[in-house]
Each structure stands twice: as structure tokens, then as C-alpha cells.
Symmetry: C2
Subunit: 344 residues, 2 copies
């Protein structure tokens, strides 16, 4: 006869999950537009598949995680930003194909589900979904003691958007066009494993304001992933966008080639922009090589826009009017489908 083992002993509280889900309904419903076709509690979220006025709608789907930014946000007690992070990351990933967001689903898993932490993340998700015009169509939470390190969590998002078939980007990228950089808000959601390691190794206090900064390390490191939806909506009314590259893990080097056709290289002048102070701080503290830093981080350039040379000045002006820090980053040329750094 063995001793009794209950599900709660195994670290999982089924009723707690039910309580949380009942409480979030009103908040989630604030993201519902006319496309939503289900009531909360259904097995699957439902969204209209009729796209009025579109001739050949194409659905664009993307999923991503926020990586180990969760660790930093937990340390700093700033979980709401993670909700913005994952929604905006996905919004940008479908935006680079030309798509407008339709709906989003989230997955939040942890060693143990803390209701107040869940509420913070959800508040961020809802705010970001509303800003993007995306319905928070569903989500899943999981308590996985033994899989997650005690106190740790992971946050994953799935977003579906829609674009007219003949408006998908990239479209017509060729040699001799302009590359425009758009400023990031910091690390966005990449490179946090290195940052976490640094913070742990040097026992860094996140409430510190480094010399010459006007904000704390927590402010800079927890700032959410920037959404480029609004400025790109504005830009596309002013110029013909040839393509967009969202600069995430792998940096300029790995992400820009994803939108280039064969036989076209991207010539990038890294001296055209100063890395945000937070990147300079990381490079100084870790001693990481410049080449590796530009391969891990966006270094201050969160989005690259490709336009014809003749429209480059108009594009930069339009992005600045839309509130972005935009600059001439480089150009395309005949060459291997890769990035060539002018200073490398």
C-alpha cells in the first residue's frame, strides 16, 4: 500500500485555473471587434473568414516567444510589458509581409501560475491587442512544475493577419534601392540570455541609473518591443514600400537577407546610427565583440525599410512625421544574397 498522491500534491491546482479564467472575461472582451464569432469558454476561438472588399485575401500567421526576457521582467517586477512584447513582436512579423492583424492567441506557462502575475501579463496583452486592432481570440495557461525552473515562466504568442495577395511584401526589391533604418526601443525580445547572465554574474541592481542616463537599467531593459504598425500604415500611403525586415534574433546580418531576392545584397553602413545607450552598456560590461553584438542584438535598428532611391527622402520624412527615428542605413546592390557591412 503506497501513500496517497493527489493532483495538488503534484503541483497543479485545476480549480485555480478556472477561477482566473472567469475573472478575465470582461478584460478580454474589450479586444473584440466585429470579426469575433465566439463566446468565451468555447473550445476554439472563432473569427469571420469573410474579408469585405478584398479580392484575394491571404492569411499571414506568425508565432514567437519573448525568450528569457521573462527572467528580467520577473526580477524587475514588470510583467505587463511582456504582454506588449509578444503581441508587438508578432504584429511586426506579419507586418513585414504586408498584413494587418486580425487575431492573437497567447500561451503562458510557468512552474506555478501566480494569479497576479498572470493578470499583469494579460493586461499588457489586452492593451497591445487593442492598439493593434487584434482580437485576443484565445489562450492557454499551464502549470508545469519540473519543466520550468521554480519561479520562471515562458510566454508565447500566435497572430494571424490578412493581406491582399498583390500587396504582399517584399515586392520588387532590386539592386540600387535605398535601405532605411528605423530606431528600436532597445533589445525588444532578443539577447536576454546574455543580459541575464551578466546581471547574475555582476550582481547588478536593476534600479541603478547608469552615468549619463535619464532612466534606470530596469526602464531600459524592460521597455517593450516597439510596434511598427502605425508608422508603416502611414508610410505606405506616401511611398511604394518594396519590403520590410524585422530585426530580431540574428540581427541585421540574418534578418535583412530574408527579404532579398537572389543576386541582391544589402550594403549596410553601421556608422549611420549610434546604438542605443543600453547596447553600449551591454557591450562594455560583457566585453562581447562588436561582430557578435550585431549578430545577437538589433543594436538600435528594429526595422529596415526598402524603397526606391527616388523615394528615400520622402520615406524618411514620412517616418519622422509618424514619430519614428528613421535614417539612411545603406542601399541594395548586385551581389550575393547577404548583408555586407561597409566597415567590416
Amino acid at each position: 500500500m503506497t501513500s496517497r498522491l493527489t493532483y495538488r500534491d503534484a503541483g497543479v491546482d485545476i480549480d485555480k485555473k478556472g477561477r482566473i479564467l472567469r475573472d478575465i472575461g470582461p478584460l478580454v472582451r474589450t479586444t473584440f471587434g466585429p470579426g469575433v464569432r465566439h463566446e468565451l469558454g468555447a473550445f476554439g476561438g472563432m473569427f469571420s473568414g469573410q474579408f469585405a472588399g478584398m479580392r484575394h485575401p491571404i492569411l499571414v500567421a506568425s508565432n514567437d516567444g519573448v525568450g528569457t526576457k521573462t527572467r528580467l521582467a520577473l526580477t524587475a517586477g514588470r510583467l505587463k510589458g511582456l504582454g506588449h512584447d509578444i503581441v508587438n513582436h508578432c504584429v511586426n512579423d506579419v507586418l513585414v509581409q504586408g498584413a494587418e492583424p486580425l487575431f492573437f492567441l497567447d500561451y503562458l506557462a510557468a512552474s506555478h501560475l501566480d494569479p497576479s502575475q498572470f493578470e499583469d501579463v494579460l493586461t499588457g496583452l489586452v492593451e497591445a491587442c487593442r492598439a493593434a486592432g487584434a482580437a485576443l481570440l484565445g489562450g492557454e495557461t499551464a502549470e508545469m512544475p519540473g519543466t520550468y525552473v521554480p519561479g520562471e515562466m515562458d510566454l508565447v504568442g500566435f497572430l494571424v493577419g490578412v493581406v491582399e495577395a498583390d500587396e504582399v511584401w517584399p515586392r520588387g526589391i532590386a539592386a540600387g534601392q535605398a535601405l532605411i533604418g528605423v530606431r528600436s526601443d532597445g533589445l525588444h525580445t532578443n539577447g536576454y540570455s546574455l543580459v541575464n547572465r551578466l546581471i547574475e554574474r555582476d550582481a547588478i541592481d536593476l534600479s541603478t541609473t547608469p552615468d549619463g542616463w535619464s532612466e534606470t537599467l530596469a526602464d531600459a531593459l524592460c521597455r517593450p518591443h516597439r510596434s511598427y504598425l502605425a508608422p508603416i500604415r502611414a508610410l505606405r500611403t506616401r511611398v511604394t514600400i518594396r519590403g520590410l525586415a524585422h530585426i530580431t534574433g540574428g540581427g541585421l546580418e540574418d534578418n535583412v537577407p530574408r527579404v532579398l531576392p537572389e543576386g541582391v545584397e544589402a550594403v549596410v553602413d553601421r556608422s549611420s546610427f549610434e546604438p542605443n545607450p543600453v547596447f553600449r552598456w551591454i557591450v562594455e560590461r560583457t566585453g562581447i565583440e562588436a561582430a557578435e553584438a550585431y549578430h545577437v542584438f538589433n543594436m538600435g535598428c528594429g526595422l529596415v525599410v526598402v524603397v526606391d532611391e527616388s523615394e528615400a527622402d520622402t520615406a524618411i520624412a514620412a517616418l519622422r512625421e509618424a514619430g519614428e527615428d528613421a535614417w539612411r542605413l545603406g542601399h541594395t546592390a548586385s551581389g550575393p544574397r547577404a548583408v555586407r557591412f561597409l566597415d567590416a
Copy 2:
């Protein structure tokens, strides 16, 4: 001057991820049907949003994880089944709304990404996607040392299907209809935290064949989540299905009420079916109370089908012809929107 800290020191190998992604292309492409509109390596997967012959298409989206079944599969070295698990779980979740699968995306995260483990999971995902007619439209992998317990992983899926608006289930559930149970293939993807705890506590060898069994514990515990897509496709041509409930975490008690209208209760006779041997083994070894076991596990009933009384016999016969073990589980009646167990 601090010592140098590299991204690889922080436990993440960017190049490894690139190598893996290059290798999987041909496998993933085998899931592509005519709806797919992107090439591999794009920021977002693309799928046609035109649904020929449908009047009012509704997209149905669901996401889920496999929970701590990952732990068991890692111990038993049977990761391919996890791919089937997550696809089939999602397929069933949109099936209960009436939807046919369109496309699936996965998220696999671990303390460290082992290429051979990833390949096993991916092979399962591809097999299950092909069986369901779903395109494997995208996916994301993440290495998160510090978040995941060393050697552990999590697997999450996201599926979008489509259904004609006037064919969404549930549709017309009322008192006086029949409930039909359909056999599960075991735990599916729920209750593994308890099982893992038991295995650890009692140092159980998964290669053991319990008395009276014709298979090992690993066989029974790792068997993938059953897809009910094919039998339900067959059934819907024979009878009017009023609704389906997919029995996952929370058991019959929590899942059946999700498809009931207000004022209708589900009267369930648990003596109508024997739990699969694996559930009897778990109950005996853990000493878990019956009430809790039926609240954690499906106990052998993976799907509940609601049909009119007059069609109950036809439905059971049709499900059996389609290869399912189906039986009369109970009926609906006037009462509170909940499950009433006849023997409780």
C-alpha cells in the same frame, strides 16, 4: 575590466538553430497543400484566405501545450509521439466547433535544443499534420537556459481551421438527447504531472509490462492523443451531430458543460464504460480518489457526441464502423448546466 561573456557562454547557439532550420525544409514541405502561399524562411507563413464554395466561412483557432507529457516522453525516449499529441489535441479542439484544419504552427522550447530530439518531434508533427490535412505553416524554437529545468522542454501548438457559419457546433442541444462516449487512447495530454510524480516517487521502470497487460508502461503512457477527425467526418454524413465535447484537463465534469446551453444538464453513467487499464493502474498506485481521478483524466472517454435519441443507435454503429469504440454514455435533461454523475 570584466572578463568577456559571449552569447554561447550564456547557453545559446544561434548558428545551431540556423543549421536545424535549413535541414527541415523538405520534410515541412510535404505538409503543404494548395492553400500555402509562402516559401520557407519568410517572417510569417501565408495561407489563402479564399474558401471556395463556402458562403460564410468562420476561422476557428486553438492553441494548447502537451503539458508535462514531455517529461515522460524524454524519459522513455519517445519524442515523435509528442508531435502527434499536440497536432491531434488542436485538431480535436477545432473539430468540436465543426472546423476542418487548415494550418498549424508549433513552438518548441528547451533548456538546450538537441537537434535529434527536435527532429523526432518534427517528424511527429509532420506525420500528424499530413494525416489531418493541415499545413505546417510555421514554427519557432527557443533555447532558454535558466527558464527550463536542464533537459526539459515544452511543446505548444496553434491550429486554424474553417467551418461554414451555419454548421458550427454545438447546434440545437436540448434536454432529452443522447450522449455517446468515444474511447480515448489513454491519458492523451492531461494528467502527466501526477504520473511523473508517481514515477519519480516509486522509481518506476517504464519498460515494465504490468500483470495482465500486453504492452509496457511506456507504450501505454506515451501513446499519442487520438484524433477524432476521421470518425467525425464519417459520422456527420450519417446523423445530425448536435455537439461534441473534447475531454481534456478537467475531465467529463469540466468539458461537457462547455457545449451545453443554460438549463440543460448532462446525465452521465460512469458505469457505462471501463477505464482503460492505464487509468486503473494510476488510481491503484497513487491512491487518488475516484472523484479526483475523473476530474483530472478522461478515464477512457476522449470525446462526447450529442445526437437526438432517435439517432443514437445509428451514431454508435457509424462510429464503430469508423473504427472507434463508442457507447451510450448518458443523456441530456432539464437542469443546471453541469454534469450529473448517476453514481455520485
